[in-house]
Symmetry: C2
Subunit: 181 residues, 2 copies
DNA sequence: GAAATATGTCAATATGGCTGACGTAACTGT
DNA sequence: ACAGTTACGTCAGCCATATTGACATATTTC
């Protein structure tokens, strides 16, 4: 494997074949930074969620319903990669407490299309705001072009076969939410 | 760059013409890409872990013990931010099954310094190898300089007051492990 | 009318967090 | 030497979130 990844960094040299790894020395730095960064990132929302008696599962559902209004339950299951039983419990709480509401699909009335209520949107936006504050602080520190670089890096880390779906999902969300404002 | 004092502020913001806008538009793209990227990233190890009857908690412990040999239990608790009871359960399994071993500290014999066994190192390296494959594939796609860019982005996403500690931890690990090979 | 689809629900189980309380060995300081 | 603190372990129980398997209901499709 040609080392296209010329180490611009001072410390780590590509070591000789290691006992049990693939061929290369593990990318310890990225592995650990990703752990710490994600830990702090999801932490932002926890305090607020706790005030509502919610957990991260509620956040994930609320986020995707807010961002992709009218999505089907099946879509949500695909995205979150959990079972409908797991989703059901969390979704039921969000619906009972009127953060999310369901409407029968116009074409296919078996479908329960999901929407956030005003209350749900307020909470979703509050949580997104907290996370956005962290992101913007980071990107400002890093300067021009860092937003694109971060996007490209994160996208490249996604399974190749999933990337188109993710991009389509995000583009569609931008259309829908953009049209409302 | 405009000041982005996002909704860290009040619960109910009065008179908002646009229900969907905080003061700034959320960074939906980074929020969602981070979710999908991290989901796929941690997924890499799950199949292997399942074959040993382990979960992600075991992976985290094994990773940090492998990478930072001789670390104290208290250090691990700080890093993982879990209680000693939660750690205890997982750690006990790893020790009983001889993936990890404890040695009394030389200076302070109350301390139980943690080390991976050969078996533990093999598993840790296998898991790190899987994640490294994903990382290297991404960085190769993105070209020269992307490794540094990713590092900087992830570091900037970490709580500022934690960054020094993270960097010191990583530098120390490089020294220790680097000395062995 | 039969089959497939979208969703909901019941029951049981596992993992991985949590709190509180208590125990023990070992270090530290007067 | 003794008291207090520290590092760690453990018992008991609780909670959140995930799992599988089976089954129910409404609706669409062929």
């Amino acid at each position: 494997m040609a080392d296209v990844t010329v180490s611009v960094l001072p410390d780590r040299v590509p070591a000789k074949p290691d006992p049990c790894a693939g061929s290369a020395e593990p990318a310890w730095d990225i592995i650990e930074l990703l752990f710490f960064a994600y830990r702090d990132f999801v932490d932002d929302a926890d305090d607020v969620l706790a005030r509502y008696g919610f957990g991260r599962a509620h956040h994930r559902v609320l986020h995707f319903v807010c961002r992709h209004p009218g999505m089907k339950v099946a879509d949500l299951l695909d995205i979150l990669r959990i079972t409908k039983q797991s989703l059901g419990r969390v979704l039921k709480q969000l619906i009972d407490q009127e953060f999310v509401e369901q409407k029968a699909g116009a074409n296919d009335r078996r479908q329960r299309l999901l929407f956030v209520t005003a209350k749900g949107e307020a909470l979703a936006m509050k949580l997104a705001g907290l996370q956005t504050a962290r992101i913007e602080r980071s990107l400002e520190e890093l300067g021009v072009g860092s937003h694109d670089a971060a996007r490209r890096f994160l996208l490249a880390m996604i399974n190749p076969e999933s990337r188109d779906g993710v991009l389509r999902l995000m583009a569609r969300a931008d259309r829908i939410r953009g049209a409302r404002t």
